[in-house]
Structure formats: structure tokens, C-alpha cells
């Protein structure tokens, strides 16, 4: 589903990703772990198509298509979703209006008919309940005044409403206490599906206790330096990144 080959990315002239290669199949959950500044967020932004990230070498292929040629909104319509580390607050747009506009934009781009307000509301309400997202939050301006946990729950709610094929979760665990983490992880696990791939980006092993990955990649200095099964997370937790970084990849 997703094939990243020898990816080099520069931000403001500085090379951040230096030859990253990664491949994910449908139904799989991969985790990317790495210390601060290793290029984790850069990878997530490049996948979502944020401006200012220059691909100088390599390729990203998504379902056989060159992902880098698509605009952010086109990627979303084709099923790419990024749960952001810092969801943006947008005063003046209610959460519900935003969800409806986004969902229908994606549908329109795929040639599907718009859903009316009532059906969107019904769908969102049912899914919101599972994630502990209150009716009141849906009526408030998008992310405005939401706590860290509320923002992250809303990101996962969006994921469940948009039903992406490839979901990238960028540090979804940051700023969450253990209860909030559990709610978010349950939400994510409920969306595991044979047709859906997930890329979970995290600094800590903790999240991976709840969202158990099929494969773990360690990112450092803009490259994958170690790979393994879920047990790699425990090793990292016990010995730290330093230990892995010293060993030749």
C-alpha cells in the first residue's frame, strides 16, 4: 500500500530525512520510534503533503500512485489521514460543521454524493460516543479550549468518521494521561482492519503497550537504523536509544 524508497527531505535547506525506506501492507500496523529531532514529524508531514518540505531524492508510492504529486486534499480523498501532534484551533468553525464539510469534500472528490446534515450528525454522534467525545464538544469551535486529551480524541474521531486507508498517527500519545491514552488506543484498535494500514509514530514505548504493532522501525538521524517485531520496543525502553544508535544498523 505504501512504499517509501530512499527518501531525502529538506526543510529550509537543511536535510532532515536522509534516505528513508519503508513499506507497509494493508492490514498492518507499523510503529516508528525515535528520539527527538530524528525526523519523525517530518515524515508525517511529507506524507500528508504540507508545504515547505522539499523532496530532494527518492519516492513515495501509495497504491501504485506517486503520492508526492497530489495536493493535501487529494491525498485525504484517496484515504490518507494524519492524526496531528498539535491539532490546530480554529475559532469560528464549529467541530460539527468542520466534520461535515471535510467528509463531504472527500466524498465529492471520489465522485460520491454528499451526505445530508442529519446523516452526518447521526454517524458522528454514534462514533463520538465510543470515544467519549461529548455533544458539547461537537458544538464548540474546532479544538478551541479543548484539553490535550480532547484534541487527540477528536483526531481519532475524525479518523473513524473519514475511514482512511492509510492512517498516520503522529505522537498521538503526547500530553495524554494514562486514562486518556487508553481511550485513544481503544479507538485506534477498533479501526484496525484488514484493508487499512497504520503508521504509529511515537517517542515512547508506552503507546505500543496498547496499540501493538506488527513491526517497529527506529528512526534516527533521518534514517531507519533498526527494525524488528514488537519486542524491539521493550528493548528500547530498557536500554534507551543511545544503545541502539551505537550499533551499526
Amino acid at each position: 500500500m505504501l512504499d517509501i524508497k530512499n527518501l531525502h527531505v529538506s526543510v529550509g535547506g537543511k536535510e532532515i530525512l536522509k534516505g528513508l525506506t519503508l513499506s507497509i501492507q494493508p492490514g498492518q500496523v507499523h510503529a516508528i520510534m525515535g528520539p527527538n529531532g530524528s525526523g519523525k514529524s517530518t515524515l508525517s508531514y511529507v506524507l500528508a503533503g504540507r508545504a515547505g518540505y522539499d523532496i530532494t531524492e527518492g519516492s513515495i508510492t501509495y497504491n501504485g500512485e506517486d503520492l508526492t504529486a497530489l495536493k493535501p486534499e487529494e491525498r485525504a480523498a484517496k484515504g490518507v489521514f494524519l492524526a496531528m501532534q498539535y491539532p490546530v484551533e480554529i475559532p469560528g468553525v464549529t467541530t460539527m460543521t468542520f466534520l461535515k464539510t471535510a467528509l463531504n469534500s472527500q466524498r465529492r472528490a471520489r465522485g460520491e454524493p454528499d451526505l445530508d446534515a442529519v446523516s452526518v450528525l447521526k454517524q458522528v454522534r454514534a462514533k463520538a460516543k465510543l470515544l467519549n467525545v461529548s455533544e458539547e464538544m461537537l458544538k464548540r469551535a474546532l479544538n478551541v479550549g479543548f484539553s490535550g486529551g480532547e484534541k487527540k480524541r477528536l483526531e481519532i474521531l475524525q479518523m473513524s468518521v473519514f475511514e482512511p486507508k492509510l492512517a498516520v498517527l503522529d505522537e498521538t500519545d503526547s500530553g495524554l494521561d494514562i486514562d486518556a491514552l487508553r481511550v485513544v488506543a481503544e479507538g485506534v484498535n477498533a479501526l484496525r482492519d484488514p484493508s487499512r494500514a497504520m503508521l504509529v509514530i511515537t517517542h515512547y514505548q508506552r503507546l505500543l503497550d496498547y496499540i501493538v504493532p506488527d513491526r517497529i522501525h527506529v528512526l534516527a538521524g533521518g534514517r531507519i537504523v533498526a527494525e524488528g517485531g514488537k519486542e524491539l520496543a521493550l528493548e528500547l525502553e530498557a536500554k534507551g536509544y543511545e544503545h541502539i544508535l551505537k550499533e551499526p544498523a
Partner: protein
Amino acid sequence: MTGITALGLPEARRNEAAAVFRARGVPHRRVEEWKYSDLKSALGEAGIGAGQADLRISHLPSGVETFDLAGPNPPDWVREYFGLASRNVMSAASLSLSAGGTAFRVPRGLAVAEPLKFEFTGSGHVRGLVVLEDGASLTLVEGVTVDKFRNAGLEIVLGEAARLDHVRVSPNAGDAVLVEEVSVRIAQGGQYRAHFAAFGSKLSRMEVEIALEGEGAEAHLSGVALLDGKRHSDVTTHVIHRTVGTRSTQLFKHVAGGHAKAVYQGKVTVAKGANGSDSNQSAKALLLGENAEADLKPELEIFADDVKCAHGAAVGDLDAESLFYLRARGIPEAEARGLLLQAFLEDAVAEIPNTDLRELVRTELLTALKALV
């Protein structure tokens, strides 16, 4: 000036106004208060002329009394209040040059449920007067028709505990040059709320002077401007806190694209003895292109003690981070920009107390936004 004598309206006030206008002439960019709105050059050789514009009533709720200012034998309330405000030069011009217009009165204690709707129309000069007696309340919906040049002068007098909600929507008026000068006097416990939605023209100026004359009097102003092409819109306010315990708020949001120019000049004066006054002023503008211009000029003049005055102004661009967030959720760029602009304007629109009018302004904005992005 013989015609004015025949009307029986206060002739001395007209003469005084004529003298003010003769002394100062048509304002231009070297006149400080008009430096962002060069009326003289916008009018060109034609000048302000002496044409007669009109005030057209589109809905008159029952209970509201009217008087045709061109007619004979004005009632006492017109004699008392008409033509008192001639401090501003263009207001002086309309007072001295207009022979017509309409005056409205809501009698003491009457709460008028339906809105009074009128519009200034035609080219030339015109006057209006709205008097709310003690305890009366009214919603005033003001439209604007597109004509070559109009200079309208509107006086509003609010008695004790009277309450007026005023909403004015000024459409995209192309090559029109439109000037309106509003003066408001508010007695004890009276409340004036106004919202000005402006879509601009060759030159559009809305100037409001508000005197909070009685204890506890309040004025709450808000407005939006959405401009493109070469359009211009200027809202200039002057709120004067004359006595203790008066309150005023202002919230203006302006968006300018193309070669458009959005102007906000807001002056708050707290007079000597107006202790405990509270005023808050906020003006923000978004520029959508390198050639668009926004001028924000908040000013404070304080001669009293123990007052609370805050003001802020900021000019910016659409937030790139927010735009990316919306696009990453599948919303196409143009639509995402529109949504963010709508959101930027929303808190000023939300100030409109009447739900129907709020929706009306929102709809106008949406239509204009579609053309803009």
C-alpha cells in the same frame, strides 16, 4: 436658503452647518481624519453638488411615527432634535444642502417588535432622524442603494433606558462614492448596538459619532468588511464617554484582497469626570494579497480617572497552519480559505443580537466570500 425657512426647521442650525462646510470644504487626504479616504479626488470635478437624495422606507412597523423632513409644520420632537449634529464636515454639508429625508419617533415606553427598514437612495444629500423616547426600543435595518454619489446624515437620539439595535449592510457598490455620517446621543441607561457590514465601493465611508451622555449609557459597535478589486471601505468611529459608568465596546474585522483598501479609525474619548468608564476596542484585518491595504488606527483620549480602556489592532495573513489542517482533511484550498475567512469574521457577526439579521449578514458574507477566494 429661503426654502429652509418655509420648512420651519431650525434655520440657525442649517446656517451654522453651511458656515462649517464653507470654511472646511470637501475633505481630502491632507485632512487628518480623511487621510485614508480622499473624498475630493474620488469625486473629481463634479464635487459634492447640491443634488437631493432620498430616504425610502421599506417596512414601517406600527407604532413608529414619521415626519417628512421636506414637509411643513414639523412637530416639536423634530424641532428639538433635528440638525444638532454638524461637527463633522460632511454632516454639515448634508444638513445645509438637503431639503428632505425622514424623521422617525418611537414614543415613550414602546417596544417595537418588528424591525424598521429603510434605505438612503438616489444621488445627492439627505438627512434622517431617529428618536427613541425614554424606555422605547427598536431594531433598525438600514440598506444602501448604489448611486453615483450620496452624502447621508443620520441623527439618532436615545432617551433614558431606550434601546436601539442598528444593522447596516452596504453592498458592493462599484463606482459609487457613498458617505454616511451618523451621530448618536444616548441618555442615562440607554443602549445603542450597531453592526456595519461593508462590501465597499470606489469610496465608502461610514462615520459614527456617539455621545454617552447619561450615567450607565452603553454603545456596542461591531462590523465586517469584505473587499476585493479596487474597492474601499472606511469605518470611522468616535465614542465620547461624557459621564460616569458609561461603557463601550468595538469589534471590527476587515478582509481586503486585490487592490482593495479597508480602513478603521476609532477614537475613544473619556471626558473629564467620566470616571469608572469602561471601553474596549478591537480591530483586526486580514490581507489576501500584496496589493491590498488595511489601515487600523485606534486612538484613546482620557481626561478622567479610574477608567478601564483597552484597545488592540492587528493586521495579518491567513494562518498557513490552519489552512494545511483543513486541506489535510480533504477540504479543497479555495473552500478552506473561505471557511477560515468566514471564521475570522464570525465573532464580529455574532455580535448582532437579532437572529434573522445575523443570518442575513452571514449569507451576504458567504456569497461575497465565494467570489473572493
